[in-house]
C-alpha cells in the first residue's frame, strides 16, 4: 500500500487483497482528487477512470467520499445526464449485526470502478429482522435496488453437540431459516434482489483434520450451512456473495484478523474491504447485465510459449514435455471452461495469419480448436483496432470484452485506446497467471441458464447466416430463405429464469431499461392489467432461443409498453414488426384502442432511439431526452412479414434450445 516503486521482475508477489489484476495506482489519491472538473458528470467520469487502479482501502474511502460529495450537491436533472453518460445510480441496504458503516465509503469508491453511483444505507449492530420490522414502511416507500444480508458466523453462532447428526441438522436448518426469513422480509418489503453471504470459516475454532465429516464441529456446521445456503439461493433466485471463498483465497486467519473484531466488531480485516467490495460490485454488475462476455486472447507467449513466426510450430512450448508448455496448456483449458460457461472466445494476434492458423490446426497439443474461436483477427495491425473490429463483427459492445496478453506494452496500448475493455495485469511467470485472472472475476454471472451454454453456438450460427446473406444479396429474399418461426407465449414459470436474465442483461435493445426480479416477473402472471410476451426464434441454422420479451400495462383502453427488450443477435430479422403485429391483434381482441411507447435514453440504448418511429408510432412528447409515442390500434395495417408466427398459450416447445 505504500509508495515503493515497482519494476517488473523484481516485484514481490502481490496478494489477492491487493487486487493484482488491476494496474498499480500512480500518485497519491489525495492529490489526484484535489482538483476535479467542475461539472458533476465530468468529475464522476474522471473518478471512474481513476478507480481502475488497485487503490488500497484508505484511498478508496477517500474516493468514495468524493463521489458522495459530488452526488450530494448535484443539480436537478443530474440523474438523466449521468445515465446518458453511462453511470447508473443504485442504492444498497446493508444489514449487519456487527459493524458495517466503516465499509460504506470503500463500497462507493469501488462501485464507481463499475460505473455505479452507489448510495449506501447501513443497519448495523442489530438483528436484521427487527430492523426491517421497524423500517418496513420506509422500505416500501423508498426501496433500495439491492439488499445485502451481511451475516457472519458471530451473528449466527451455529453450535450443536459433537457427533450428533440430528442436532447438527437442526442447528444448520435453524441458521438457514433465520437467513431465509430475513431475505423473505427484505425481498417482500423492497421487491428487489437480496444478496446473501456464505460464512467464513473461523480460524480460531478448534479444528481437526477429520472435522469436515464430524457433525457438530465448527467446520462441519459452517460448510453444511454454506452449501445449503447456496443451493437454496439458486432455487429462490437470491444472489450469493461467497465470503467463505474469499476468505479461503486470502487465508482465513488473514481474512478475519481477530484484533479487528475484538477492538471494533469488524467482521473481517480492513485490508480485505477492497476485495470484498469488488466482489460485491461484480455480483451487482452481473445482475444488471454488466458482466463481460468475450475473452480475446493473444497467441504468441499467451496461447502458447514462443513465437510461432520465429520458432516454428515444432518449437512452441505447449502441453506435456515442458513446464512452460504445461502452463500455456492450462490457460487453454481455462479458456475452454469459460466457453462452456457461455463466454465467447476470440483471437487477436500480430502474426502472419496463415502461419498462426497452421499452428492452431496442426499443433498436436492444442486444446482449443479453430471451431472454439468465434472471431480471428490475425494481422500486423494495431491490436486496439482489431479488438474494435471484433466488437463490430460480433455485435457486442467493448464493455463486454476482456483482453488477455502477456505483453505489458500491448496491454497498456489497448487500455489507453479502449478504456471500456478490461485488460488484466499479469505476473511475469505464466504459471501465476490463472490465479490472478480468476481472482479478477470478469465473467461473474448472476444465474445459469441453458442459453448460456448455447451462446457460442448462436454466434457461430450468425456467422453462417451472414454468409447466406452474402450469397443471396437481397435482404428480404435472404430473410425468406431462413424459414423463420417466431414462437410467442405469455410469461410462464418455465421461461421465467431466461426472461429475468434478458431483463437484467439487455442494455442495447432495451427501450426503458427497467429491471425486474424473478419474483416480480412471476407476479405478472396473476396481474390482470399486465400483458406479457416472450418470444423465441428458430430458423434453418438453428434455434436462437428466447430472444425477446415485452411487458404492457393496461390503463383504461390503453396499453403502455413498460418494457420491450430484444437480443441483438436477431437484429434486422423483422422480429419487432412481427411482435407489434401480434400486440395489435391482441389489443383488438381485448378492446384496447391505443398503444403507448416510451424511450428512456441511456449510454447504451441509442440503437432503439427511433424504434417506435420505425414501427409507425407518432411522437407525443419529449422531456429530458425521454420520448413518448402513440399508436392508434385502428390505424394499423396488417403487414406481410417473412416469418411464421406460432402462438402458444403454454411454453411447451420441445425444441432443441428448450429448458
Amino acid at each position: 500500500m505504500s509508495e515503493t516503486p515497482l519494476s517488473p521482475g523484481s516485484v514481490a508477489k502481490l496478494t489477492v487483497q491487493a487486487l493484482p489484476w488491476l494496474p498499480r495506482p500512480a500518485g497519491k489519491m489525495r492529490e489526484r482528487v484535489a482538483s476535479l472538473p467542475p461539472e458533476p458528470v465530468a468529475a464522476l467520469k474522471y473518478l471512474h477512470a481513476l478507480a481502475q487502479a488497485a487503490w488500497g482501502e484508505a484511498d478508496l474511502r477517500l474516493l468514495g467520499r468524493k463521489v458522495k460529495s459530488i452526488l450530494q450537491s448535484a443539480p436537478p436533472g443530474f440523474s438523466a445526464e449521468a445515465r446518458q453518460g453511462g453511470l447508473s445510480q443504485i442504492r444498497i441496504l446493508v444489514l449487519s449485526a456487527s459493524t458495517a458503516s466503516h465499509i460504506s465509503d470503500t463500497l462507493i469508491g469501488t462501485a464507481i470502478r463499475f460505473r455505479f453511483l452507489l448510495d449506501v444505507a447501513i443497519a448495523e449492530y442489530e438483528e436484521p429482522e427487527s430492523w426491517i420490522e421497524r423500517n418496513r414502511a420506509e422500505l416500501k416507500a423508498n426501496p433500495p435496488d439491492f439488499v445485502l444480508v451481511a451475516s457472519d458466523s458471530r451473528m449466527l453462532t451455529l453450535a450443536s453437540p459433537l457427533g450428533d447428526d440430528v442436532a447438527a441438522e437442526h442447528a444448520v436448518e435453524a441458521g438457514l431459516a433465520r437467513i431465509a426469513r430475513v431475505a423473505e422480509v427484505a425481498g417482500a418489503a423492497t421487491g428487489r434482489p437480496v444478496i446473501l453471504q456464505t460464512l467464513a470459516g473461523d480460524p480460531d475454532a478448534v479444528q481437526f483434520n477429520m472435522d469436515l465429516g464430524l457433525p457438530g464441529s465448527p467446520r462441519f456446521l459452517t460448510s453444511e450451512f454454506n452449501r445449503r445456503l447456496a443451493l437454496r439461493a439458486r432455487q429462490d433466485s437470491r444472489l450469493v456473495l461467497d465470503v467463505d471463498a474469499l476468505a479461503s483465497l486470502v487465508g482465513r486467519a488473514a481474512w478475519s484478523a481477530g484484533r479487528y473484531w475484538y477492538a471494533a466488531k469488524y467482521p473481517f480485516a480492513t485490508v480485505m474491504v477492497p476485495l470484498y467490495a469488488d466482489n460485491l460490485m461484480r455480483i451487482i454488475a452481473a445482475q444488471m447485465g454488466r458482466s463481460r462476455r468475450v475473452l480475446v486472447l493473444d497467441l504468441d507467449n499467451t496461447m502458447w510459449g514462443g513465437i510461432v513466426g520465429d520458432d516454428g510450430i515444432e518449437g512452441l512450448a505447449l502441453g506435456s514435455g515442458s513446464p512452460l508448455g504445461e502452463a500455456h496448456a492450462a490457460l487453454q483449458r481455462m479458456a475452454l471452461s469459460l466457453k462452456q460457461r457461455g463466454i465467447i472466445l476470440c483471437v487477436s494476434s500480430k502474426n502472419d495469419e496463415a502461419i498462426a492458423l497452421e499452428a492452431f490446426r496442426g499443433h498436436p497439443e492444442m486444446i482449443l480448436r479453430e471451431d472454439d474461436i468465434v472471431a480471428f483477427r490475425v494481422n500486423w495491425d494495431d491490436k486496439a483496432a482489431n479488438i474494435k473490429a471484433i466488437s463490430d463483427a460480433i455485435d457486442l459492445g467493448l464493455d463486454s470484452f476482456v483482453f488477455l496478453d502477456d505483453n505489458p506494452a500491448e496491454r497498456k496500448r489497448v487500455r489507453d485506446a479502449l478504456p471500456a475493455v478490461a485488460v488484466p495485469e499479469l505476473p511475469e511467470d505464466p504459471s501465476e497467471w490463472l490465479a490472478v485472472f480468476q481472482a479478477a472475476g470478469y465473467f461473474e454471472q448472476a444465474g445459469f441458464s441453458r442459453e448460456d451454454q448455447l451462446r457460442a453456438g448462436f454466434y457461430k450460427a450468425n456467422a453462417l447466416r451472414a454468409s447466406q446473406m452474402e450469397r443471396i444479396g437481397d435482404h428480404d429474399d435472404y430473410l425468406l430463405s431462413l424459414d423463420m418461426t417466431l414462437s410467442i407465449a405469455p410469461f410462464d414459470s418455465v421461461g421465467r429464469k431466461r426472461i429475468a436474465q434478458l431483463i437484467a442483461k439487455s442494455n442495447q435493445f432495451n427501450l426503458t431499461t427497467r429491471r425486474y426480479s424473478e419474483a416480480e416477473i412471476a407476479a405478472t402472471r396473476s396481474n390482470p392489467d399486465v400483458f406479457t410476451i416472450q418470444a423465441r426464434l428458430a430458423d434453418i441454422f438453428g434455434d436462437n432461443g428466447m430472444i425477446s420479451a415485452v411487458i404492457c400495462r393496461q390503463a383504461g383502453p390503453c396499453w403502455e409498453i413498460d418494457t420491450w427488450i430484444m437480443s441483438c443477435r436477431v437484429l434486422g430479422r423483422r422480429v419487432e414488426e412481427a411482435l407489434l403485429q401480434y400486440l395489435v391483434q391482441q389489443a383488438r381482441l381485448r378492446g384496447i384502442t391505443e398503444i403507448v411507447g416510451r424511450y428512456i435514453p441511456t449510454a447504451r440504448n441509442g440503437l432503439v432511439r427511433d424504434h417506435f418511429e420505425r414501427l409507425g408510432f407518432a411522437q407525443t412528447g419529449s422531456e429530458n431526452a425521454e420520448t413518448t409515442w402513440r399508436l392508434a390500434v385502428g390505424d394499423y395495417g396488417e403487414k406481410n412479414l417473412p416469418l411464421k408466427v406460432d402462438v402458444q398459450l403454454d411454453w411447451k416447445l420441445a425444441s432443441a434450445g428448450g429448458f
Binding site: S101, H102, A263
Partner: protein, 88 residues
C-alpha cells in the same frame, strides 16, 4: 508488506505524518494536531475513528500495535512515542 520504512523519524517528521493520517482518516483537511491532542479534546476522535487511525498509522509506519496498545493509546503524544520506539 515486506519493505521496512527507511525514512528518518525525528519527532517533528513523525508528528507531520501523523497529522496527515488524522486529516485523511477524520476527513478534515485543515485539522491541526499537537502532542496534547487526545480523545478527550478532539470530538471527531471517537471509537470508530480510533480504529481507522490505528489502521492508518500501522500502514504508514509499517508497524503493528497490540490490542493493549490499541486500547491505551489515546493521545497524539502516545502515538508519536510508540512510533519512535518501534522505528528505532
Amino acid at each position: 508488506m515486506v519493505h521496512a520504512s527507511e525514512k528518518t523519524t525525528s519527532s517533528d517528521d513523525v508528528l507531520a505524518r501523523v497529522q496527515d493520517i488524522f486529516r485523511a482518516e477524520l476527513d478534515d483537511e485543515n485539522l491541526v494536531i499537537g502532542p496534547e491532542t487526545s480523545q478527550n479534546n478532539l470530538k471527531a476522535w471517537d471509537s470508530l475513528a480510533h480504529i481507522r487511525l490505528i489502521g492508518g498509522i500501522e500502514n504508514e509506519f509499517n508497524i503493528q500495535l497490540s490490542l493493549v496498545e490499541i486500547e491505551q493509546t489515546t493521545s497524539v503524544r502516545q502515538f508519536v512515542r510508540l512510533i519512535e520506539e518501534r522505528s528505532r
